[in-house]
Symmetry: C2
């Protein structure tokens, strides 16, 4: 039987970029002590108070179908948080609750694009972006953000691809680069979207992890409110990766129509998980800062380690839980380096190539192990780079 082309082609060239991650996981299964700096996941569990609130919700009877676009209280709480963070008026009717940020990313592309439409995204990119666009039967159009420009996308590069495009997907704070887009960059993007009548899909799941500068949501820029779909999530901000809960913020009309997509793709999100998310939001901004704190601290440790090297370069991350290392001086590709480092030193980092051509010759290090282990791993990585420079 013939599987549909769109499913067969979802990965494009056939790799999802997670080979190293799986190789490391296999080694762990074989009893090898691997330092895992691959995946963007906290080294803590979800907070006990949130888990207890979820259990309490089940005891109170939240075990049946929940409202498909999300329960009112959670939509309202998300709207209030967005409004408080961004100053932009937001009500429950602007909020669609989804089973995770990835689901909101997919929904945003379904809302923006018809099959065959050109959907732009910035390279380096989070690993699922091109597949999400292909999964939505649209055509992924990468636009490089150059290492030399600190991975801020360039207005001229964007404009060169914007003709006949339907949407542009951006991500600030950025995974994998740790870059926070400047006001200049965002205003250039806003102008571009208005000039070329593009939807802007803004993935802001790292909005609580800002180390330098300020997070600006493009939805708050002039003329952007009606053409911006913001993707949010509890995963990174509240250490709830495994709960699969996020949201899309957009114009009321889009949210109303996307409710129909939810009815036909997920039938909503578990009510008890929504109650857990509601309780987590009620823990307030102090809790979000607590969750972000270890990454702030480890970022400083990592910068100190890398600064000492003449071979390994970096752009100090301005946000998110990653650091991008430049290992082009070694003469190795990111793939080669990451594989050799894993085999020789049992340290797993993601090759830049997993995140696109623009990140070739780089490594993404997730700051997701304890401080001491991170420091040791980075020192080993630097030594390995220096010993293996061609």
């Amino acid at each position: 039987m013939k599987i549909s082309n769109r499913l067969l082609n979802i990965l494009g060239d056939g790799s999802d970029g997670w080979d190293i991650f799986r190789k490391a996981a296999d080694m762990v299964r074989d009893g090898i002590d691997v330092t895992q700096l691959t995946i963007g996941e906290h080294d803590i569990r979800t907070d006990q108070r949130i888990l207890d609130a979820m259990h309490q919700a089940t005891l109170e009877g939240h075990t049946g179908y929940a409202a498909i676009p999300g329960i009112f209280e959670l939509r309202q709480a998300v709207a209030e948080r967005v409004q408080a963070q961004t100053g932009e008026k937001t009500t429950y009717a602007n909020v669609l609750i989804t089973p995770g940020g990835q689901s909101a990313l997919f929904a945003a592309h379904i809302a923006a694009c018809n099959p065959g439409d050109r959907a732009m995204y910035i390279d380096p990119y989070y690993a699922t972006y091109p597949g999400t666009i292909r999964g939505a039967s649209a055509v992924p159009v990468p636009v490089k953000a150059r290492a030399e420009a600190g991975f801020q996308p360039d207005a001229a590069d964007l404009a060169a691809q914007a003709k006949n495009a339907t949407s542009l997907l951006i991500n600030s704070p950025n995974n994998p680069t740790g870059v926070v887009y400047s006001r200049d960059t965002l205003e250039g993007i806003a102008t571009l979207c208005q000039t070329h009548d593009l939807w802007l899909i803004s993935d802001e799941v790292y909005d609580t992890q800002i180390w330098q500068g300020r997070h600006i949501t493009p939805r708050s820029l002039e003329g952007m409110r009606e053409r911006t779909l913001v993707v949010g999530s509890m995963s990174k901000s509240h250490a709830m990766t495994g709960s699969r809960i996020g949201w899309l913020i957009g114009p009321e009309e889009v949210v109303a129509h996307l409710m129909n997509l939810s009815t036909h793709t997920t039938y909503g999100v578990a009510g008890f998980v929504q109650q857990a998310a509601l309780s987590a939001l009620k823990l307030g901004i102090g809790f979000e800062q607590e969750i972000a704190q270890p990454f702030r601290r480890r970022r400083e440790i990592a910068i100190r380690c890398i600064e000492q090297s003449n071979v390994v370069g970096m752009i100090p991350p301005q946000g998110a839980m990653y650091m991008m290392l430049d290992i082009r001086n070694t003469g190795m590709s990111g793939d080669e380096f990451a594989n050799a480092l894993l085999e020789k030193h049992h340290i797993a980092v993601m090759p830049g190539e997993s995140f696109g051509d623009a990140a070739a010759g780089h490594l993404r290090v997730a700051l997701t192990v304890d401080d001491q282990r991170l420091e040791q791993a980075l020192k080993t990585l630097v030594r390995f780079a220096e010993e293996n420079t061609r």
Copy 2:
């Protein structure tokens, strides 16, 4: 900004068929005591043992990302259950865990159809079917199963639409009709699929609710294993509607590719929900029978009520938690009848029209309130039909 046509058109004519359900919910919110016989949801909560197992799983640390196609233990447990129920060899590699049966239905259509492909389904149908097909950018092609044939689809009617079609979606035990497809019907469908090279998508979420005859999965029929995608769920069998967990069973290759779809649409299912489902399956077949028992009992009560009427007809349900009433003798449409009954007697039932043209002049009654209340509501319904026959 222009929302994509495919999102705008997901509902086709603009109604999702749930107007009466929402009207009843509004009345409840206004303090009116409505007897809700609309939605297919148990009048019990999820079992405490399952909820406790979920809480325990969170305490044991299942709060991070879980394996995208499902945790091995759950895939394995679902495979064993399917094999035990159907005799058909099934391993974990045939099982994709999804956030609910609806998600598996969507995934199945993505796997089978490219955009623009013709996807057949049987009318009367579960309310989301045509929208699921449209959501997957395919073209819904209904084939009527006639009330006069006991709502078993006819081979000639199917063959008339099968040319140039890509897939056929069936549902037995059937929502809304309560019909269980006979071996003859299923063998006719199997022949049709092989003759016209169709994927068969078999929604079997009511497979534990059989009151007459026997459930046969078409995957077990000769030549069908490689072209059948089975949709399953914990919702109806284990009273876990609100947990949003289900699965797709199919050829290994399809499951492997659908894992890529999951990566790009949902990023998997919460690990603690998967642990809850695993614990629920371990409660065994006795537990499934316990969950089904009230519907068996209420079906008998309902049959006794309707048998006494000269106006209201029925086909006694062979499976599932519904009964289809024939009110064509009244001269009213299902919509008219359901609206009038809700307004006058505060009893909410679904008009047949919500489930397609073939169910016009019918009502779907969900057997989802306690026995006494059901009996009283049906007696009132019968009296109302008799008083209002034109």
